[in-house]
């Protein structure tokens, strides 16, 4: 049946647990486009025959192929769009530098899109709060304190605090640090927010 390959793309993405980005299925996409090309060319030829050869019995077939083309188009666009939604989420979850494993899952165009999105977001954030700008990717949960207690989950090394001094983030060490400095590291799984 037509559109099977396109449905596989949709299923693949639907199966990926909320938000996870599977590798870009370049082969699958190419096969869908090939099927669309074949359907289109067959229809072109049959339309000509229906018009000039008086073969109006071909019209149901032409309509059927056209439906399949539209379905393929819908599946492809939905696939690409849903991937972009997941990629957009990555900026908010992982920050502006993506883990290399993820980068290999994206096509070149998707990477370009991500870079544009990053820039748009940065421009927008700079425009907020007068001349200072505002990092809206911080404080995703309502903050209770300026300083928070954190425990280090992995060896990270020297970490510079505001007044120039630095702390050594060694596994299992605990520190009282400014919230805004730690938020990224907590989201990356390097620090753990300890509640007293």
């Amino acid at each position: 049946m037509f559109c099977e390959r396109a449905m596989e793309l949709v299923r693949e993405l639907h199966r990926a647990a909320e938000g996870r980005l599977p590798a870009f299925n370049e082969d699958g996409l190419r096969q869908v486009l090939e099927e669309m090309k074949a359907l289109y060319e067959q229809n072109q030829s049959d339309v000509n025959e229906a018009k000039s050869g008086g073969r109006s019995d071909l019209i149901p077939t032409i309509k059927f192929r056209h439906c399949s083309l539209l379905r393929n188009q819908r599946c492809t666009v939905a696939y690409l769009y849903d991937r972009l939604l997941r990629i957009r989420a990555l900026r908010w979850e992982c920050g502006s530098v993506l883990p290399s494993a993820l980068r290999f899952h994206m096509s070149a165009e998707e990477m370009e899109w991500f870079n544009h999105y990053k820039k748009s977001l940065a421009t927008y954030m700079r425009s907020l709060g007068g001349h200072e700008g505002l990092d809206i990717t911080q404080d995703m949960k309502p903050p209770k304190n300026l300083y928070i207690e954190v425990r280090c989950l992995k060896d990270y090394g020297e970490f510079e605090v505001d007044d120039g001094t630095s702390v050594l983030l060694k596994k299992n060490s605990q520190h009282l640090l400014p919230r805004w400095k730690c938020e990224q590291l907590i989201r990356q799984g390097i620090l753990e927010h300890v509640l007293s």
Partner: protein
């Protein structure tokens, strides 16, 4: 679960499907038995098997209500338990419903414990860190 991923919702509860909704595409892929009223030449082997017209099934809404009630009940009362027995016989959409119920329950429990303001590691990052080690072992 990624908190920043907002997929295109199904239009099933509204007047029509959402073009870009993966759920709607899968839902509209269900097969119906049909009869070919007019011949469609040149489509090859696709139309060799024919069947009669389809029959409406009035039991479908009833079944759905029953299953939905059970899912809601179990998802709202299973806290910090092994839920594999509960979800084993559910299909994809139902599992999604169950997860939504569990998330609501967990969020509420977190809030009760005063953990609503605790910053947590991103699930997405944790999953990718795990996978990296698996790749290295191959």
């Amino acid at each position: 679960m990624s908190e920043a991923y907002f997929r295109v919702e199904s239009g099933a509860l509204g007047p029509e499907e959402n073009f870009l909704s993966l759920d709607d595409i899968l839902m509209s892929h269900e097969k119906l038995p049909v009869r070919t009223e007019i011949p469609m030449p040149r489509l090859g082997t696709f139309f060799l098997d024919r069947s009669g017209g389809s029959e409406a099934d009035n039991a479908i809404p009833q079944t759905f209500v029953g299953r939905f009630r059970r899912i809601m009940d179990s998802s709202q009362n299973a806290y910090n338990e092994d839920t594999s027995a509960l979800v084993a016989r559910l299909d994809e959409m139902e599992r999604g419903l169950f997860q939504t119920g569990q998330k609501g329950l967990n969020d509420f429990q977190n809030w009760e414990k005063g953990q609503a303001s605790q910053i947590t590691a991103s699930n997405l990052v944790q999953n990718y860190t795990k996978r990296k080690f698996t790749d290295m072992e191959d």
